[in-house]
Symmetry: C2
Subunit: 243 residues, 2 copies
Amino acid sequence: MAARTTDRRDRLRRATVAEIHSAARTLLITHGAAAVTINAVAREMGMSGPALYHYYSSRDELVGAVTADFFRELTATLQAARDAHASSSPARRLLATSRAMRNWAITHPAEFGWVFASPIPASQERRPGSPRYLAGRDFEEVFLEQVVDLWETAPFPVPRPEDLAPSLRAQARDYAAEIGGRLPPEAVHVFLSCWIRLYGLLCMEVLKQLDFVYSDLEPVFEECLRDICPTLGLEYEPPAPAR
Amino acid sequence: MAARTTDRRDRLRRATVAEIHSAARTLLITHGAAAVTINAVAREMGMSGPALYHYYSSRDELVGAVTADFFRELTATLQAARDAHASSSPARRLLATSRAMRNWAITHPAEFGWVFASPIPASQERRPGSPRYLAGRDFEEVFLEQVVDLWETAPFPVPRPEDLAPSLRAQARDYAAEIGGRLPPEAVHVFLSCWIRLYGLLCMEVLKQLDFVYSDLEPVFEECLRDICPTLGLEYEPPAPAR
DNA sequence: AGTTTTGTTTAGAGGCTCTAAGGAAACATA
DNA sequence: TATGTTTCCTTAGAGCCTCTAAACAAAACT
């Protein structure tokens, strides 16, 4: 039976791919990004180097696939946080989602750093259609959808169109179209302002650009959240104390 | 005469070091960070690879030295911008310095990216005392000194100490001590909040983390400046139009 | 049973970092 | 001026990497 054996092959291939990713991740965590080489990954799983080229056509492609994995894991974590607060207020839900993001970042520093200070920046894997790109979209969507929800139920204040710089307005309009017009350009701009602050802070934390002064950035992060809340018309609430 | 010939040797050595840095920079700009290898740099200047090990004991050390170069160049640019506005208001001076930073970043994307998304993150060159570390200090100092000046002539509002999270207060106090007590901890915190926003935005721009929506970040940067100004008790002024 | 597809292996070309050993020039000194 | 020393640079090579090519085993299809 063609279908069954194809299935079986597929299963084996999938298992191998999973093992490759797992080996790569182990190497990343234990020996850093530079240690994730085709040869080392193969060695880790008792194979000889060139065999991996039957699964990925280059090291960059492997890196991109692993990155997409991490992205998806982060996205799933965010969705779980969101769902755990499905019946809370939008403010509490968005705060929980944001905190889940930082929590994943600091509990998975190697993975987060790998994704965001990617060793493979402008090359192959950032083009539309790549696994990495698609995973990034889904990630972003978790926040976007909550802001859309917010916008529809309790619209936050936005600047007048004429107060936005022309080039900014054009770019916001393009993006608004790209997300299916779920937000008007001005609301897109507010969303992105918040996003930049949140995301920027995490990137700096993970790139250790603030080490020279702050080692514990949790209160800085909370302050950032507190700052952002009014922009989205939300009421800040401190995190639930550890239980 | 011993002194003269030693001088001569020193001069030659310095010239070679300069040529090494220049070759490395050319490679960085034209072929990206990965192309800056010991071998390629040597080849670029008609030498054979191992010769470079008479100047730097490892690739990492060369990378660190070049990074420090870039840092110093950026710092000099900032100082020039500051000095060009020596007689302007503190607000105008600080805005000019900030804009000079972004200007250097976008006119030298390879160098800025090299410095901030450093290919050599936690390793050797980030320890205190390294060229890279010292250069980073001088860089930071350009902004710090202006904020100190501001604090002394027109103190900006700061949170009450009891409004800062305890761990934050402790960290701010340490840093305040490190800069010779020129700012009280609360003012340190305000300074750093601004710094994080400015610097974070530039890092994200240069890491192309915002490409998915904004390609021209100039207006976003201006908006960030406008946002920061009141925090430091300054009046925002738009940039002088290009002449 | 024979053919194709798939997964793997070894061999190897060409790159990299970095060490080791040797030669040549410039300098210091008798 | 002749001799020793320091400095700079070379080639050789070990060991890592990516990636290609060719050979071979095994499973799947016909």
